[in-house]
Amino acid sequence: MINQLFLMNGYGVYVWSAFGFTIFCFISLYLITKFKLTREQNKFTKKFAGLPQAKIELAKTQKINKEIIVNTPNFNF
């Protein structure tokens, strides 16, 4: 039964390579996009932390700025 699943009457190499390529694309695309998002969030949080106190208070009035900082992984001021 296991042989049947892997060999598929000789078509296994085609079927598994097609599914393998798809999963490889999925994982790569997910990791690249996650990296891109984290990089942008880190850039934002770093810039936010470097602002003068008065500007930080002003930026804090926008809820979206707080939301970005809260969702930035592993970032410490």
Partner: protein, 235 residues
């Protein structure tokens, strides 16, 4: 209605749903893979090679669907001058391109045991290759041109011109004599595919659609953060 298409609102909404969507996607993908690799029957002519259909067809459908949506959004961007439309279109393009590549590569792998060749310049396959080129031009237009207005205009023009190719892909198998088979799944008439094969095909399509939605949300969030980053300079 256009006021509701607000990047800030969308950012708040997507924070909560991203993890749930990912969890649902994993479950549906596992069910889809089990159905398509194990439970579904082999074809009487193509034997187990038919299983490639369960990744090839959903990838092709979704890449076509995404490009159509990008084209419509680009048209709306010209009419309503709403920046958010181009932001959504831009965020969709990467996953659309990857799905197009998956459709081309898996189609090529399927072609070898079925037709005896990896590639043939037939109308369906060539028009699909053209779609991937349009995707590439669209993505590059955002990177190559520096001014934001130029990026928006040029990418929108590429998407609108590329829309002409969408019906060509869809009807290429009817208009020309192609090696690629005719559509077996039809919306307005009876499909010729057996229900035992239709079920895994639909499950995999849902899984692929969910994955493209997850990637779109992540891309969109990255674009919104980029915008807000520029906003900090203007404080």
């Amino acid at each position: 209605m256009l006021k509701n298409f607000n990047p800030n609102k969308a950012f708040f909404l997507t924070t909560k749903i991203l993890k749930t969507l990912f969890f649902i996607f994993i479950i549906i993908l596992i069910i889809g893979l089990t159905e398509s690799l194990w439970i579904s029957p082999e074809d009487y002519k193509q034997s187990h090679a038919v299983r490639i259909m369960y990744v090839h067809v959903p990838a092709a459908w979704i890449s076509l669907g995404i490009f159509t949506f990008i084209g419509i959004l680009s048209l709306f961007n010209f009419i309503f001058k709403n920046k958010n439309f181009s932001l959504i279109a831009k965020s969709l393009s990467t996953s659309g391109f990857v799905f197009c590549i998956i459709a081309l590569v898996t189609g090529s792998i399927w072609g070898y045991p079925t037709w005896g060749t990896w590639w043939v310049w037939d109308a369906r396959i060539t028009s699909m290759l053209l779609l991937s080129i349009f995707y590439l031009m669209y993505i590059l237009s955002w990177k190559v041109f520096e001014k934001n207005i130029n990026q928006e205009k040029i990418s929108s023009i590429i998407a609108i011109i590329g829309m002409i190719n969408v019906p060509i892909i869809k009807f290429s198998v009817d208009w020309w004599n192609t090696l690629h088979q005719n559509a077996t799944v039809k919306i307005f008439s009876k499909s010729s595919i057996h229900p035992s094969m239709m079920l895994p095909l639909l499950i995999m399509t849902v899984a692929f659609a969910l994955f493209s939605l997850i990637i779109f949300i992540m891309e969109y969030r990255a674009e919104v953060v980029k915008l807000k980053n520029k906003g900090l300079d203007r404080l």
